[in-house]
Structure formats: structure tokens, C-alpha cells
């Protein structure tokens, strides 16, 4: 096996590239938010390095000084992680609100997609209990999402929030996204008139949207 020739100056990773790679590794979460922050960090370090180079330092010295001023990965990563987590939480809250809004219209009082499932016999006591529970859970879920949305946006004018708020938002959203469809499907099954068409309709308009919310909530938890 021939030895690998030494890398050229251009091919070796610069100290800034190594730093940015380390910073990227220290920030879990949705890649698009992290990418934006890292891009700005990279731009900043480029400007700072140019400034030190213009002041007479060698490129290596200039990079080292720019990195010293920027802060170590241990110092900077926590703030970046908070930013990524809060952004992910805000998106999860938006998604939950958008999914919750049409549910009452689809299933109860509007299109009533499940109406065809009801047999001639009256609904069981359990059905009515679940009907009450899903009403409260759905309302609480939607209200919680609205509060989370406010807190993670305009609320930052007055509140210092971080990953704990993001975790709480994600947990709340995940719980809602799991409980509502489970109760909903159970109610449809209890009617005794669940057809294949109705099951597919429930999958499309209930299970799938809430699955997206659950996925977003899990990604938020990963960012925390």
C-alpha cells in the first residue's frame, strides 16, 4: 500500500473548520436551525480572522485570536442549544395548533366524518365518557400549544426561557398527539360501525397529522 501523500495547505482543515465541526457536534436538533446559526458563526469567524490578518497577524495567529474572542465550544454551545431547542418547540406548538383546529369540525359538529359509524343502537356509556375526555384533552392540548407558541415568540420580551420550556412544550405536544387519536379510534370502534373507508379516513385526518406532531415533538426533545 502506497503511503498517503501529505495534505496540501488548502486540504488541511483550518482551526475554524475544526471549531465549527466541534460546535456542530455539540448542538443536537433539527438541522436547518442549527445550519443557520453555524453559518452565521462561520461568517463571524471569517470576518474576525480577516480583521486580525489586516492588523498584521499571520493567518494562523489571526484564526487563533478570532477563536479566542468567539469563545470555547463549552462556553458557546449551551446558548446555541437553547436557541435550537426553543425554535423546535415553537414549530411543534404551531403544528399542534394547526392539527387541533380542524378536529372538532371534522369529527364533531361540522363534517362529522364518524357519523356513519353509529349504529341504530345508542352509544355505550364508555363512548360518552371517552367523548367527554377527548373534549377536555383536546381543549387542553390546543390551549397549551397556544401558550407555548406565545411564550417561545413574543414571550421572550419578558421571559428568559431555555431547554426546559422546550422540553415541556414537546412533552405536552407528544402526549396530546398520542392520546387524542387513541381515544378517537377507540370511540370509532365502540360505535360498532367502523368500516375500512372510515378507518382510512381516520388515518388520513387524525392519525397522520398527529403523527407529524409527535415526530416534531420527538425532534424537539432530541434538541434538548
Amino acid at each position: 500500500m502506497w503511503p498517503t501523500p501529505p495534505r496540501t495547505e488548502d486540504e488541511r482543515m483550518s482551526a475554524v473548520d475544526v471549531y465549527l465541526a466541534d460546535l456542530r457536534a455539540a448542538i443536537p436538533g433539527p438541522s436547518w436551525t442549527r445550519r443557520d446559526l453555524l453559518r452565521e458563526a462561520g461568517d463571524h469567524l471569517e470576518d474576525a480572522t480577516d480583521a486580525y490578518t489586516a492588523a498584521g497577524y499571520t493567518p494562523t495567529e489571526a484564526e487563533a485570536l478570532a477563536l479566542r474572542d468567539f469563545g470555547s465550544v463549552d462556553d458557546i454551545a449551551p446558548g446555541f442549544r437553547d436557541t435550537v431547542a426553543i425554535g423546535a418547540a415553537r414549530r411543534t406548538a404551531i403544528l399542534l395548533v394547526l392539527v387541533m383546529l380542524p378536529q372538532a369540525f371534522l369529527w364533531d359538529g361540522g363534517l362529522e366524518l364518524g357519523a356513519s359509524a353509529h349504529s341504530d343502537a345508542p352509544d355505550s356509556g364508555l363512548f360518552h365518557v371517552l367523548d367527554i375526555i377527548i373534549g377536555y384533552v383536546g381543549t387542553a392540548g390546543a390551549l397549551g400549544a397556544l401558550v407555548a407558541l406565545a411564550v417561545t415568540a413574543i414571550g421572550q420580551r419578558w421571559l428568559r426561557i431555555g431547554r426546559r420550556t422546550a422540553q415541556l412544550t414537546a412533552a405536552w405536544s407528544l402526549a396530546t398527539a398520542m392520546i387524542v387519536p387513541i381515544i378517537g379510534f377507540t370511540m370509532l370502534a365502540l360505535t360498532g360501525g367502523l368500516t375500512v373507508l372510515l378507518a382510512l379516513t381516520a388515518l388520513a385526518f387524525m392519525a397522520a397529522p398527529f403523527a407529524l406532531v409527535a415526530l416534531s415533538a420527538q425532534r424537539t426533545l432530541a434538541a434538548c
Binding site: 452565521e40 463571524h44 474576525a48 458557546i76 446558548g79 415553537r90 420580551r157
Partner: protein
């Protein structure tokens, strides 16, 4: 002056330096350093979470623009940010007046 005392007002300081014109992150740091006479000593990377926070709070608007031939994300004060800055200035004047009054001259 203890750097921690200045850090606690970082949001107000950021709003103040972008009051006159949009600036990108590095320029904001340079302006903070210059206007504080070098007293504001904090890791420059900490500015970016603060900028994101102020943007999501509605105090700053950001856009990508060309600065010195390079694409940079620049930040400018929103109307809500101007109102907030005016409020912070008033609070600071009142605070400074009260403390000066109590501490008095040496």
C-alpha cells in the same frame, strides 16, 4: 466596570447599536466594543442566541444582504424594538438618577 453588570443589559445594548442602521453580527460586536470603550468583555459567540431571541420577540428584523461583497445576515430595529429601546433608555435614566442621588459625591 464589572463585565457582568454590562452583560445583564445586553439586549438593550444590541438594540441601541442597530438603531441607526442595519448591521450584521460581527459589526454589532465591533460597535458594542467601541461604544463601551472596550469594557464589554464577553465571548463574541454569545451574541447570536441573543440576536435570535430579540428577533423572535419581534424587536429585530433580519435579512440576508451583501456586505463587503459577502452575503451576511443583517439585523435592524423593528418598530416594536424602537419602542422597547425608548423604554429601556427611560428606565436607565431613572435608575441612574436614583442611584446617583443616593450615592452622592465622594
Amino acid at each position: 466596570m464589572k463585565a457582568d453588570a454590562l452583560r445583564g443589559h445586553l439586549d438593550s445594548l444590541i438594540l441601541a447599536v442597530v438603531e441607526k442602521q442595519p448591521l450584521h453580527g460581527y459589526a454589532i460586536i465591533e460597535a458594542l466594543s467601541a461604544r463601551s470603550g472596550g469594557e464589554l468583555d464577553l465571548p463574541t459567540g454569545t451574541i447570536y442566541p441573543a440576536l435570535r431571541r430579540l428577533e423572535k420577540a419581534g424587536y429585530l428584523d433580519s435579512s440576508w444582504s451583501e456586505v463587503g461583497g459577502r452575503k451576511r445576515r443583517t439585523y435592524e430595529l423593528s418598530s416594536a424594538g424602537r419602542n422597547a429601546l425608548a423604554g429601556h433608555r427611560q428606565e436607565w435614566r431613572t435608575f441612574a438618577k436614583v442611584v446617583s442621588g443616593v450615592l452622592g459625591e465622594a
